[in-house]
Symmetry: D2
Subunit: 411 residues, 4 copies
């Protein structure tokens, strides 16, 4: 039987970041064998290390499988040429064999030089410009016939995220197991710290909110964060906005009084009447202008010029005029607001959390707060590994967060 | 202080159905007082009862609140005129004070006669035709300027669902508390019975499925049900169809092998390559025709002419060509397939379950299977009271269901 | 076929409390037939109603099944004699056919008079004293040979709980479906109100706490409630006490720092060293006396003379000297402290919540706070129907509760 | 500032097992610095590696913290003397500074030789025999005044579990994130394989079962496994045994019929009457002998001489005569049956799963099946890292398992 061989190289904090062990493990898992040809270990923790590994496999397919597996850990063939491209032969689909992006920082070798890929996003293709001087992630529906689409892994390399390499930082404390049994005041303090730091760095804080924020009574708390400049972009759906405005107009959320907690008569109709009223006025901004909407999250966003995307879903009633009912258009609207985001706080929404997790590059830290551990597990399963999960209840969590942020003053 | 008075009447199995007690309770809860003027109790369980109640309240608002509250329990003012309408003054919004529909059977009094409302659906308005001879539910976006829209409750009555009136039937066994600690074989048997009965009556079984059906390994089981004519309509999303076809093409679901359960190399790319392949072929039907897709749920649906709606969502990759990306268009596509549905089986999807629950009239029985009790609780909270919840795991549940249905032969 | 007949009577708010409808429903469900012979309906809400129902069944067994079913709803045969007893023929077991108690208020007819049963508790037998002048609930292990044990339902009646009869009270707002999507500030306010009201009435507040109270960082909050006289009895286990004292001694809980949230070196050993230290000192009280334990829940309980029961479990390490390792002894220790309890707050424990729920009479209101809806559902499934469930996170919930109670001053 | 230095050595598959990276990471996390003095890397995957690391810290405390942290990863000071002991100065408590055991294989250096610790169990002390020739784990309550108890880490070393070192084995497929979205047929197949393999090796399969096994209808399935010799030891509680026998005697579980799923009349009393009957007969074995108990899990255990421990808990009614009501006695009863156990299947019990997890050495593989992800997360959080979690429903899971085991014949 012929043996198929490749030589891989890795540089950086490859031992204590666990990248080298993962690569060795992957080789064995796929049935390959390795021989460490060179290992220059950074003797102290500041030094970068270098390794050169000979990989052997019984078949070309097996070798290919190994190379695919180790690629996102930053292992690159010792000798690689330029990235190869193929022209898209139709709109809205990539050529076969297209390179499938991760959300990690990625570089493509073009004309012998390593170029950073722009608009990094998972599950996209990479389109190289006509001069071969730039490359960017493009979703499947965005490809046009004739685009030069990267195919294969040749001439590509992934720079594994900082988070994996040195973890003694913000958020380390909230390690992987997603449990409710964690000291909550610490989580709150760290998130408050991350929000302030993000603002101090001139970056934006993105909030992704589900309707339970309002149902549990958290509207005014979020409104406070918007007022204090601590939420700078909002992604949500028809339900969050509707129930927030239902509270402003009727004092209820899904018909349940937020004052005494009882379902009110006709309360189940309030959300529909709220939507109808806003539609009659022409929209949320118009409702604020007309003085009909004077409190709550949406009011503050309009008043403070905090941009928002309300993405539509099939369970929407109405919907509100601002809701982007087309899923692709909604994704694009969100993409436009992501540059500049330094921190993302997700509260009480599985749908929007996963959707936004799909769009964010791996270096934007995410805190995902949900009362169900399953939501956080799903988010991580789908590749948003930069996420820390906090299993907690929306309103009490937000109340603690606002109190913590209030201690030292806002941005 | 003036006293405001109204007289209400109810007919039917109002005592053992709990409708009368609920009405009396509602009057007291809202601060009113009652006087039972007439009560003719059906002495035996087959006899209908009749009650006439005088309701008193201190203010007009209080009285109005009481009447709103008791309306869905079937209590109607003793003297009522025809339903009142107002012309829609714009497209896409109802006039103020519009009647807000429930999913219960509803009648409107027009020209002195009680007319059944068509297309019954919750959270809609009711539009009366120009001759005043028919009425139907219309969603907010469907209203056109000039439509005669029902306003107020005058001349309307709700016929509370059979399920409340006599419960010694299918599904009674699965009472309200949503717990995993129930005998599962019984649930399976009852659902199998409901599916067979629905088919025998010439009605359709609607399946609403989430991607965990595929992730847990249930594709072939669902395919079997489609083949056997036991699923007649399918509502799902991009993910269910993608992972089902990913399994057919690659043997994986979200990159996890369904044979050995291990993540495969490049497996995380499989779903994207699957979508790309189907887009290149022009769609699912074309993929079947071209012989590229030869097994799984989508294959069987295409082959057996089982209509499906794949509704888009913001977390979709791709999506597949058949996916209806606009939420309102997807709702309309589902509405078209609902008439004739006699039973609905929802498995492992919160988003689609709530969306479909919003569209179904109260007399279509629903079984909602999910591993998380929260999904079923949410569905019931949002008004789909005809739902029985089964807290169980998708694949093992489907396996038991297929085995149970196999015992006595399919439709 | 012979027909078996019985006449039942009910008195009270039997219509709007849903008791009569439930009885009629039960008769039909068990295959019986009914004839309402007399119905005197309280025309206004203050009036009691009276009904006399003829029940018919095809077999004696069927009739018996119906009578068993309607008994806890307060339906009593029109003619009943004195309660019948049989002597216990051995220690630790009842005679066959023993009357099995509920947690509802119960009366026994002795010498022609209705006597209140003492020590009401579910799943016990009822022992009548030698003079036939008193009756009390006795657990199975408490019965002694020769005890006069009530057998059959003759001469017994259950007074259905107030909660069912008139619900417009404290806690009504938190109706049955156990969902996290409720306004939390309202729940907090109502519980605070119940605690203050209980204290004002001279009754005791019982806290039943799980270790997640400490893990999430809530020790100091509970300590505050003890200091303020708002918790008067504590039931917990080895883990709660250990982790509370681990925090006092090491600043960690299960080895996780409550200051910075990181696992500390050797932290996993802290709980064991804590137990060892307390055992070496002779116990918790001795540790306080020796000045070794100076903060936290257990410190406050010792200092404020708040009695506590630490009930053992098979997952205990150590345990602490105060832990009652025998389950029956622990139940008895708890029983002794229950008289005088007017309100019970359960936080973050399934085991202890269900155990205490078993011991409490139905008229002691219970609020059960847990991040998992399943805990509350289990509690209700097992008969503790007086429980309201709040799906929330321990520490943030307690933080809000302490803040709410602080607003108006403590007891 | 003085620098404190220690030299550590590690041997084995320290790179691809992630042990070396973890040690380096731990040093940095605790503020230390390292210098890799020697690294002989196994060039091929079969070769063991060796590393010698110089660790530096600013204070003695910091150095001690680092050494504590790296100890369970197998890092041992280059020069170490014999293990040091101190005499226990009282019964039931260790001397201060006692060595706290893990569930990993551990060795103690006595008289210059490394000795295996017997009865390995986490959270115990280690007692050395009088001749210094043997050492074993002893729980805190088992220590007697005068026992020679190991103190400090000197002369001890931990052999990290195989599972960490080479993962390409049984169970690898079910990696850490605890999600319900996994192919269930694969989990079932692997567990079946583990059970058969355990039997083939002459080891015992231990089942730890909660009452939901019976409530969901799984009694007969477990009984089948006992009959087929595939369950050899049973740990459970009063509830599992009671409901199993309630089903045998009444056909119900917690009063719910397992045939039609409906609560039966007086059904809530069945479990109490079951316990009473068994108590009257003298016990479960006597009930089998008397012919009163003729089916179900307990019947099969008695008939097949499968030993069982029914451990008491404070939520027990009764309890059954066989129930060990003292928690410490129950732990000891379980400890006696653990030697020889090669595989442990836990289904639907948090309490017993964690209790048994505490007792098992790390090399006994555990599969924990529960419908709630939180149960598995808790188990892992508490140190039972050899556990694979399967989020699934008890009865359907067991049904699939029995079917899978039936395919190839039983042991």
């Amino acid at each position: 039987m012929a043996t198929h061989v490749e030589h891989l190289e890795m540089t950086g904090h490859i031992v204590d970041s666990l990248l080298l062990p993962k690569v060795l493990d992957a080789i064995l898992s796929r049935g390959g064998r390795y021989n460490i040809e060179t290992l220059r270990l950074g003797q102290r923790q500041d030094d970068a290390s270098f390794v050169r590994i000979e990989v052997r496999a019984d078949t070309a397919e097996q070798l290919e499988a190994i190379l695919a597996e180790v690629h996102p850990h930053g292992a690159v063939p010792a000798q690689t040429g330029d990235g190869r491209t193929a022209p898209a032969d139709m709109d809205g689909a990539f050529p076969d064999g297209f390179y499938c992006s991760t959300n990690f920082r990625t570089q493509v070798r073009l004309n012998g030089e390593w170029i950073d890929v722009e608009d990094q996003e998972m599950d996209c293709g990479i389109v190289v410009d006509s001069e071969g001087a730039a490359a960017r992630c493009v979703p499947m529906t965005g490809v046009k016939k004739g685009d030069r689409v990267l195919v294969g892994r040749t001439g590509t390399r992934v720079l594994p995220p900082e988070a994996e390499m040195r973890k003694h930082e913000l958020f380390e404390f909230m390690a992987s197991p997603v449990s409710s049994e964690r000291p909550k005041a610490v989580s709150v303090r760290e998130i408050a710290h991350a929000m302030r730091k993000t603002r101090a760095a001139g970056d934006k804080v993105l909030a992704v909110l589900g309707p339970a924020v309002v149902h549990t009574g958290g509207s005014e708390l979020v409104a406070q964060l918007v007022r204090d400049g601590l939420i700078n972009v909002l992604f949500a759906g028809n339900a969050l906005a509707t129930h927030d405005m239902e509270q402003a107009l009727y004092g209820t959320s899904l018909g349940v009084s937020l004052t005494h907690g009882l379902p009110t008569d006709e309360g189940h109709e309030h959300h529909l009447r709220t939507i109808n009223s806003i539609r009659r006025l022409g929209g949320i901004r118009e409702a604020v202008k007309a003085g009909k909407l004077a409190s709550g999250i949406m009011f503050e966003c309009v008043t403070r010029n905090v941009p928002f995307v309300l993405a539509g879903s099939i369970r929407d009633d109405g919907p509100l005029p601002e809701v982007v009912t087309d899923a692709l258009a909604a994704q694009d609207a969100m993409r436009k607001l992501i540059p500049g985001v330094g921190f993302c706080l997700m509260v009480a929404t599985t749908l929007h959390s996963i959707a936004v997790g799909n769009l964010l590059p791996a270096w934007v830290k995410v805190a995902c707060v949900d009362i169900s551990p399953a939501t956080v597990t799903k988010l991580m399963d789908r590749g948003s590994t930069q996420t820390v999960g906090i299993v907690s209840d929306a309103e009490p969590f937000l109340r603690s967060l606002v109190a913590e942020l209030g201690k030292t003053g806002a941005a």
